[in-house]
């Protein structure tokens, strides 16, 4: 692609903001440069450099917007904060737009409500349009669109893993506990997060135990085609990829004739499913509803269906609110209900819920080991301080991205703190026939 073509494409994409949603125009035309966003940004906290300031990042796009879409920008150029696009800047954009975790903490505090994550996604969308999405991210998108999951696993591997989890649960409790697969007509279709069956098995086991105790083992199912709710189109800014990835899961839910799509402990997967399946979203009215498994289990706990042996989880446990649950979807209390029921020593991390600090691996950055130094020494620094302050020995979180980032962060900074899911803790202490699991150690 020639420089002229690149420039035309980029300028047109930015000009399109003017006729897009009103929020986009607000972000382009209203910023007092007050610095609030920088003061609450996990990246800027980690390293106070100009390039990490959210307002400066958005300015990469805003300057061009001013040049082409505002009278003052056209007339006064640099004097009015306007600047033309330079194709040579693309490589720098490639770094800078992948130095934001899209956590939306800036949007929570900005006096104008400017959500810089939207402009980060716009910047990434422009890069994607030019074929400049970083290779590590593009690979995840490609594998997911090709196989239906980000691990590149097939149905045989999935079924083998499920069989293994059933064996594990039988050993733990001495009775068979089923994980139904491909059952048409089951009420609940469970969509776990990336890697939860293959790498982090305990959350799925926890949910299976919940269904078992309720006598609903035949009311739920997993799918051997759709077992990974992750959707990296959200992170690369490519709406077409995001929709294509989502479509497979919507179709499978229809084919299984489920009443509820029960999303797993994955913030962005839940956010996409929930938002895009609204009546005004991509798919119109759908024959099923979307619920998160933590909401579902917490409600059953509150109804008094379960008993726990908290001595199975004696260590101090804290909860890290994944940004997509805490800030973007308002799911904050359900994980706490589960953890407080299942653990002897639950501790809050401050600030929390909608004001929580990002783990430093959001926006897909967690999958990018090529920027691990940045994740460990810049974007994750604030989270490390927060975790240390709790004195916790286990961080529960409901997001595979967060889990990966936090695990690496603890190892990198020599902290002996385990990281895992929410249903994992439930699985370890919930009583079945009056007895908790004779637990296995998981690596």
């Amino acid at each position: 692609m020639s420089d002229t073509n690149v420039k035309e494409k980029v300028v047109n994409a930015i000009k399109a903001i003017k006729n897009g949603p009103r929020a986009g125009r607000l972000y382009m035309e209203t910023c007092a440069k007050c610095g609030t966003c920088a003061s609450v940004c996990p990246i800027y906290h980690g390293k106070s450099e100009k390039r990490y300031n959210p307002a400066e990042r958005t300015d990469l796009i805003r300057r061009i917007y001013r040049k082409y879409c505002t009278i003052t920008g056209r007339l006064f150029g640099k004097w009015a904060g306007a600047e033309d696009f330079n194709p040579e800047d693309i490589e720098e954009w490639r770094s800078i737009f992948y130095e934001c975790t899209g956590c939306r903490r800036c949007a929570t505090y900005c006096p104008f409500g400017i959500d810089h994550s939207v402009m980060t996604r716009k910047g990434r969308a422009i890069l994607d349009m030019l074929g400049k999405t970083p290779d590590t991210m593009q690979k995840v998108v490609d594998i997911s669109l090709e196989t239906g999951n980000t691990d590149g696993a097939n149905d045989v591997a999935f079924k083998a893993a499920i069989e293994f989890l059933e064996e594990e649960m039988e050993e733990e409790h001495g009775i068979p506990i089923k994980i139904p697969v491909d059952v048409e007509g089951a009420d609940y279709f469970y969509v776990p997060p990336s890697g939860d069956v293959l790498v982090n098995p305990e959350a799925t086991m926890g949910l299976a135990k919940v269904f078992h105790i309720l006598g609903m083992a035949d009311k739920w199912t997993m799918s051997s085609k759709c077992f990974d709710g992750a959707n990296y189109g959200l992170f690369t800014g490519n709406d077409g990829d995001m929709k294509k990835d989502n479509e497979l899961y919507v179709q499978e839910a229809k084919d299984l004739k489920c009443k509820t799509m029960l999303m797993g402990e994955c913030g962005h997967a839940y956010r996409i499913m929930k938002m895009m399946m609204e009546k005004t979203g991509w798919w119109g009215e759908l024959p099923f509803k979307v619920e998160n498994c933590m909401e579902w289990t917490a409600d059953r706990i509150k109804e008094g269906h379960f008993e726990f042996d908290k001595s199975k989880n004696p260590q101090p446990v804290t909860y890290h609110d994944p940004c997509n649950f805490g800030r973007s979807c308002g799911i904050t209390e359900d994980p706490r209900v589960i953890l407080q029921a299942a653990c002897a020593d639950f501790r809050e991390m401050y600030p929390n819920r909608g004001e929580n600090w990002c783990c430093g691996g959001g926006g897909g950055l967690s999958a990018m080991d090529d920027i691990i130094e940045f994740r460990m020494e810049v974007s994750g620094v604030k989270k490390l301080e927060q975790v240390r302050d709790t004195g916790a020995k286990y961080i529960a979180t409901a997001c595979s991205n967060c889990k990966r980032q936090l695990t690496q962060l603890m190892e990198h900074h020599d902290e002996e703190i385990d990281v895992g899911g929410v249903h994992d803790m439930l699985s370890r202490s919930i009583l079945i026939n009056g007895k908790a699991a004779d637990r296995k150690e998981y690596v």
């Binding site: 696993a153 097939n154 293994f164 890697g195 790498v199 080991d369 190892e411 296995k440």
Partner: protein, 105 residues
Amino acid sequence: MIHEETPKNISQTDYDGFLKTMSDWDRTMAQELAYKHDVGQLSDNHWKVIEYVKSYYESYNIGPPVAKIGKTTGLSSKEICDLFPCGTVKGAYRLAGLPRPPGCA
């Protein structure tokens, strides 16, 4: 010493030591990677894990569930952690020549 040289085949790995092509894998190379990534001299237990991971991958085109490694090899989670201080994926998967796992997990 052998591990002070970088054999040609190690250059066929990505920035983090994951093989680009699995058919490039051989035992000498696994040992080289082990030196390079602080795992050191590979013991029988290391090989037990590496060979299991490799054979599982050959059957299912994906690494085994982490918990299954311990169960199949008879090693406790602590023993596996001690064998591969850099983690199961970066340790065993990488030394077995598996491609870098994409995605969040």
